[in-house]
């Protein structure tokens, strides 16, 4: 059931605080919450949290017959359903507006931007390819689930290792267990990250990055920019809301570029640190 709208004191407090460039949780307007990653015992399991917003991403792979239109490419499917665990306003089976936005953004950022190389997923042309399944579970909605989901998805894809496959001749395929041969990482062309800005009705209020639940509900428009550390924009989405002039949009793109570089370094460091703990020496 939809929760009641924020109370008038909350609304007035937030708006007057933002006018003075102050956010309720103490961040600067263009500060993002620090992402925290917890990697699971399995490869491809990651729990990503931005403040109190938490998303768990899980990647698994299985071998299937490819579609006849594309016999040389593997497949990737993304499951991202909101459950009442994220918040009691979401019901299973009935996609809310938020869920549709998240699903479409994930589709554009991860699938359509070709972040994952599909041709490298081919084992035997026309007969066997890898089908990579990314499942995202939203544990808590404390604002900005889109960014958290994209981050969790990309980190999980980079964390995952698929079993090594050997092709002998024309039709024999041997799948090696992870204990025999080290599993292989997926071929990832680039890692896109998503950044969401919230705008408010009052022209004196600056746009803020990574809104919390209250800020998102009281905002008058959202703009999401997905780009990678190489300054390439995958998605720039602004669905209605308060109109912004072009200089403002370009300024926010520059902000997102700086954030993407920083986030990319953080993610690289975290993945390397986790991989160090998993290295097993075979004598």
């Amino acid at each position: 059931m939809r929760p009641p709208s924020p109370s008038i004191p909350e609304k007035e407090f937030l708006n007057s605080a933002l006018k003075q460039n102050l956010r309720i949780d103490g961040r600067a307007p263009l500060d993002m919450r620090t992402p925290v990653f917890i990697f699971g015992p399995e490869l491809g399991w990651v729990d990503c949290s931005l403040g109190k917003t938490r998303v768990i991403a899980y990647v698994d792979a299985k071998m299937v017959k490819p579609t006849p239109e594309r016999p040389f490419e593997g497949m990737i499917t993304i499951h991202s359903e909101l459950s009442p665990m994220a918040s009691s306003e979401y019901e299973t089976g009935r996609p809310s507006e938020e869920e549709v936005t998240i699903t479409r953004m994930l589709d554009k950022i991860i699938k359509r931007s070709d972040a994952l190389d599909k041709e490298s997923l081919c084992i035997l042309a026309g007969q066997r390819v890898w089908h990579i399944r990314l499942s995202l579970h939203f544990l808590a909605d404390a604002g900005n689930m889109v960014d958290c989901a994209c981050l969790a998805g990309i980190v999980a894809l980079r964390h995952f290792r698929r079993p090594e496959v050997e092709v002998i001749g024309d039709d024999e395929v041997i799948v090696h267990s992870p204990l025999e041969r080290a599993p292989m990482p997926l071929a990832i062309h680039h890692s896109p990250f998503c950044f969401t800005f919230a705008f408010f009705a009052d022209p004196e209020t600056p746009p803020i990055l990574d809104p919390t639940q209250l800020e998102q509900r009281l905002s008058a428009g959202l703009m999401s920019i997905a780009l990678n550390a190489q300054k390439e924009i995958c998605v720039l989405q602004k669905l209605g809301g308060v109109p912004q002039d072009t200089e403002e949009v370009l300024r926010l793109v520059k902000v997102a570029v700086a954030q993407a570089k920083e986030l990319s370094n953080t993610v690289d460091a975290k993945l390397t640190a986790d991989w160090e703990t998993r290295k097993v020496e075979v004598r």
Binding site: M1, E42, K52, I56, S83, S88, S135, A140, Q213
Partner: protein, 236 residues
């Protein structure tokens, strides 16, 4: 009889729900969240009691028929412990998320036990739903040689010929014939024929094993009190 795999309990403190808890038997982990009593849809409203709604979400993929079946079993296991007529026309929403992949489709009872235990802990963590008792569950298996295994691990699942999950409601108070009553079981023969004596002996083994689960649950809620001794420990 062996001990169960190591039990780990933690309270996630998820932001938008009233209570949440994580329970694991070794590598099998389940996370449950409870919201309630909250507003209910008109279609699901009951005039004299709260509506108790359970949904299960597997780790890989979207919920399927198996998840619906698991949700129905968990509901029937937990419902006896809830006093639903104190909050009529409201909703108590329980969502259970599996956090470990299901590698053996033949034996999901360890996961089912973890899901029931995490649900109970989430309800206790929320503290907003009146309860009659605490439902604890454990999986038991019987091997070909007649050995009873408590919470069999994956490596030994292939040896089982009978198995199932037992759920008990543990409480101290008048009206219960013993301290723990069986509220649910799905004991079945995995091979050959069903044997009633096997069910009875497994239930006794489970009753014994449940003490360990209950003790872990209790110590996770009540922290160790330093210097107060054993004077107020409850005996099961």
């Amino acid at each position: 009889m062996n001990a169960s795999r190591p039990i780990q309990i933690s309270y996630d403190g998820l932001a938008r729900v009233d209570g949440s808890a994580r329970f694991s038997f070794g590598d099998t982990v389940a996370l449950a969240s409870v919201s309630g009593p909250i507003e209910v849809r008109l279609a699901a409203e009951l005039p004299s009691q709260a509506t108790f709604d359970v949904s299960v979400r597997p780790l890989n993929n979207v919920p399927s028929t198996e998840s619906k079946s698991q949700a129905a079993t968990i509901r029937s296991a937990i419902a006896p412990s809830l006093i639903l007529n104190k909050n009529p026309r409201t909703l108590i929403q329980l969502v259970i998320q599996t956090l470990s992949p299901t590698s053996t489709p033949r034996w999901t009872d360890g996961l089912l036990a973890a899901m029931i235990n995490s649900s109970t802990l989430a309800l206790l963590n929320a503290g907003s739903v009146p309860m009659r008792g605490v439902v604890c569950a454990i999986a038991i298996g019987k091997t070909r040689d007649g050995e009873l295994l408590v919470d069999p691990e994956e490596a030994r699942v292939a040896e089982l010929i009978q198995g199932g999950c037992f759920a008990f409601m543990v409480a101290d108070g008048a009206g219960l014939e013993s301290n723990s009553t069986t509220v649910w079981t799905n004991w079945r023969a995995l091979e050959r024929t069903f044997d009633e004596m096997g069910l009875m002996s497994a239930r006794e083994a489970a009753k014994d094993a449940i003490k360990g689960v209950y003790a872990s649950m209790k110590s996770s809620i009540m922290p160790e009190r330093i210097g107060h001794g054993d004077d107020d420990k409850m005996e099961i």
